[in-house]
Symmetry: C2
Subunit: 401 residues, 2 copies
C-alpha cells in the first residue's frame, strides 16, 4: 500500500522518540528523571474540577464551533489582566494551542508559502507546517545573545514573495528568552512593512521571573491589529496540558470569519473540558502568582546547579519552563540516548530533549539540550546530580560511542 | 492582508449556515424544530459521567498520544461485540471521527490525489479533503435505488492513477442506506484490484433497524486487512457528540506507525473525556439496544408522516439517524431558508438540511433534504405537521420567491 510523501517526511516527535528507551530503563528498575517535557506537576486549581463536576447536562452535545461563550468570556477576562483587550467575538476556542497554530497555517498560507520563526523553536511547529505544506524559514538566534533576535535588516533579508508571517513563542520555548519591547516593535515594523501576519504564541505569558522585565505583547499595538494573531492555552498556566483547551484571538474580522470555517469543520472542541476551563475564572487565592513563584524557585535551583557543572553554558532563562543549555558533549542526541540505555548513577538517570529537535537548520544545536524545570525540586536536584556525574563519565568514553 | 486559497475555497458548513436565520426566528418567538443536525437527545449513560467524576488525578497531564490504554481496551471490546477483532495496538484514539478522517487523508494522499466517495455523502468530508488538498470523486447513487451502490464496472470507471481510496459511511449518513454484504464485497474487490484503501466510517454501526439485515463490515474480510481503515466515534452511540472521542483502527502496521506521527503532532486527545469514554464499557442494562429501539420508533414515526405528505418521496432508511427525502420543491436551499425567514404554522417552523450540501456534483440534490429523527417523538410529530402545511403553502408562492 502507498503512503503520502508528507507523512513519510514528517518527523516523529523528537521529544517523544526517546520514550521507549526510558521505558526500558524503568523496567530495569532505574529511576528516570524526566526533564524532557513541559508537563507541570503542580496541582490544577479546584475550579477546573468544579467546572467539570458542576455540569448538569444529561447529554454531551455539540457545542458552539467558536467555543462556549463562558469560556470565551474567561479568556477575554484573562487577557484584560495582562492589559490586552480581546472581546468574546474576537476569540475562538481551539483544541489546544496546537490546533490554533495549525488553523493559522491553513488560513494564511498556500502550499509552499513561508513562515519566519526564530530558531531554536518549539519542535511541534514543524508538524503543523508539514501538515499545511508550509516552509519554515528560520531566523537564527545565538546562545551568546541569550537567544535574542537579530536586527531588523537581518530579519528582512529572509523575506521572499512567499513569506506570509512571523511565528514566535514569547516567552520562548525552548530558551526561556523574553523579548524586549524593542524587539516586539521590530517584529511589528517588519510585519507592517512587508504585510505579514504576526503569530504570537503566548502560552507562557504568566511565567516571567524577573520583576525588572516589562512584558510586551504584540497585541498591545493598535496599528498592528490587522496583522496580529494571539495563540493561547490553559495547559501550562493551570497544569492542564491534557485538557487541550487553547484559543486564537485576533481583531482581524475577515480572518476570524475564515477561522470559523475551520472551527466548523471539526464541529467543536471537547465540551466537558470547555466547561471545566470556563470555570477557571473562579479560581480562588493567588493561584497564578503562587505557581509563578514556585517555578521561579525551581528555575533558580536548576540554574544554580548548572552553573557548577564544568563545561555547561546556559543563559539564565527569564521566562517559560525551560533551560536551554550547551553541554560539553559533541552530540546531545547520542548523549541523551546513552543516558537511558547505558548509564545510571546510584540507579538513577535522566531524560533530556536533545537540541537538534528544536532546530530546522542542519548541524545546529548538536551540543545543546532543553531541560524542563516544571518537575519537583527534589527531582531537579537529583536530576542535576545525575547530569553532573553523567557528563564526567561521558567525557572519557564519548569517542568510543 | 492575504488569505490562503484553500480557506477561501472551503465552504461554511451547509448545515450550520442556516443557524443565524433560525436564531432570528427564535428571537421573534417562533418555535423552531431542528431536524437539520444529528444531535441525539437521549441521555448519555451514567457510566460516562462516572468515568469523569472518578478521575482522581490532581493535574490533567498529557496522555498517551495513542489514547489512554483503558479507552483503547473499551473500543477493542466494543468491536468484539460486533464480531470484529481489533487489538489495543491496532486502535488509535482520535479527537472525534473528524480527526480520524483528516488523519487518513493526510497519511494516504498527496496533494491532488483522489478519493472515491458514494454521493450523497456527509458534508464535512469536504472540509477534511479540502484541508488535505485531496479531490473527492463522487460515486453516484440514486434515490430510485435506495442510494445503493452501482456495480463494480461503474465504480472502476472512476478510478485514475491518482485514486488512493474509497471512503464511505455505513450505515450511510445522510441516506440511512445499509450496504449489503455483496456491496461490501464489491468494494473489497475494487480496492484489492486497484490497490486502494477502504475507509469505512462506521459511526452509525449500532443503528440498524431491520432485523432482516445482516450487517457486513469490511473489517470482517481477512484478505482486506492491509487495505482497511475503520473510523469510529462514541458521538451517536452514547449521545456524546460533544466529547469528540473517536478512533482509527487498522491492521496495517506500517500505516499505524504513520498515524502515530499525526497523533504525536497534536500531543493527545482531551484527557478527561477519554477517562469518561473509557468507562462506557461499564454501562449497565441494555443501553445500546434500548437506544436503537427508541430510534427505530422515531424513524417509523417520521417515515409514516412523510408517506402521507403529497409529493414527498423517500426510501425507508434501514439505519443511521436520517431520512433523505425528495420534496415537491424546486430548490430545497431556498425552501429551507424560507421556512426560517418567512413561514410559521401556529407559530412553529422547522430547520432542515438542504440536499445540495451532501453533493459535490453541481445541480444534484436540489429538491432533497436530510431530516434527522434523533429528536423527540413530539418534536418529530410537530415538525412533520409543520412540513406538510409549509409545503402546501410553498407550492403557491414558490415561483415568486
Amino acid at each position: 500500500m502507498n503512503f503520502s510523501n508528507r507523512i513519510q517526511e514528517m518527523n516523529f516527535s523528537p521529544i517523544r522518540k526517546l520514550m521507549p528507551f526510558a521505558d526500558a530503563a524503568e523496567k530495569k528498575g532505574i529511576k528516570v528523571y524526566k526533564l524532557q517535557i513541559g508537563q507541570p506537576n503542580i496541582a490544577a486549581p479546584d475550579s477546573f474540577f468544579e467546572g467539570l463536576h458542576n455540569y448538569e447536562g444529561k447529554i454531551i452535545p455539540y457545542s458552539d464551533s467558536k467555543g462556549i461563550l463562558p469560556l470565551r468570556e474567561t479568556f477575554s477576562k484573562n487577557y484584560k489582566k495582562y492589559g490586552l483587550s480581546m472581546g468574546v467575538d474576537e476569540i475562538l476556542v481551539t483544541q489546544g494551542g496546537s490546533e490554533a497554530i495549525l488553523f493559522v497555517m491553513m488560513a494564511i498560507c498556500n502550499i509552499g508559502d513561508e513562515i519566519l520563526i526564530p530558531e531554536p523553536f518549539y519542535s511541534n511547529y514543524t508538524s503543523f507546517t508539514c501538515f499545511a505544506g508550509v516552509k519554515i524559514v528560520p531566523i537564527p538566534t545565538k546562545i551568546e545573545d541569550d537567544f535574542h533576535l537579530p536586527n531588523m535588516e537581518d530579519i528582512e533579508k529572509l523575506i521572499t514573495p512567499k513569506t506570509r508571517g512571523i511565528l514566535f513563542s514569547n516567552p520562548v520555548n525552548p530558551t526561556g528568552t523574553v523579548y524586549t519591547g524593542k524587539e516586539i516593535e521590530t517584529i511589528g515594523k517588519v510585519a507592517k512593512k512587508h504585510n505579514l501576519y504576526i503569530i504570537a504564541d503566548e502560552v507562557y505569558r504568566q511565567f516571567i521571573y524577573d520583576e525588572s522585565i516589562e512584558y510586551t505583547s504584540v497585541a498591545q499595538f493598535k496599528e498592528l491589529e490587522n496583522n496580529t494573531i494571539l495563540v493561547d492555552s490553559i495547559s501550562k498556566h493551570y497544569s492542564a496540558c491534557g485538557a487541550r483547551i487553547g484559543s486564537i484571538a485576533t481583531k482581524n474580522k475577515e480572518l476570524l470569519g475564515y477561522f470559523l470555517k475551520l472551527c466548523q469543520s471539526r464541529l467543536c472542541v471537547s465540551t466537558m473540558e470547555q466547561y471545566a476551563a470556563a470555570n477557571l475564572i473562579n479560581t480562588t487565592g493567588n493561584y497564578v502568582e503562587d505557581v509563578r513563584l514556585e517555578y521561579k524557585k525551581r528555575r533558580d535551583l536548576m540554574y544554580g546547579y548548572l552553573q557548577n557543572i564544568p563545561g555547561v553554558v546556559c543563559p539564565k532563562p527569564c521566562g517559560a519552563l525551560y533551560i536551554f543549555a550547551k553541554l560539553p558533549v559533541k552530540e546531545s542526541e547520542k548523549f541523551a540516548k546513552w543516558l537511558l540505555t547505558d548509564y545510571s548513577y546510584e540507579n538513577k538517570t535522566l531524560m533530556v530533549a536533545p537540541g537538534p529537535g528544536f532546530y530546522q537548520t542542519p548541524n545546529k544545536g548538536t551540543s545543546e539540550v532543553r531541560l524542563s524545570f516544571c518537575i519537583s525540586e527534589d527531582d531537579i536536584e537529583n536530576g542535576m546530580i545525575v547530569l553532573k556525574n553523567a557528563l564526567e563519565a561521558y567525557k572519557n568514553i564519548e569517542d568510543s560511542i
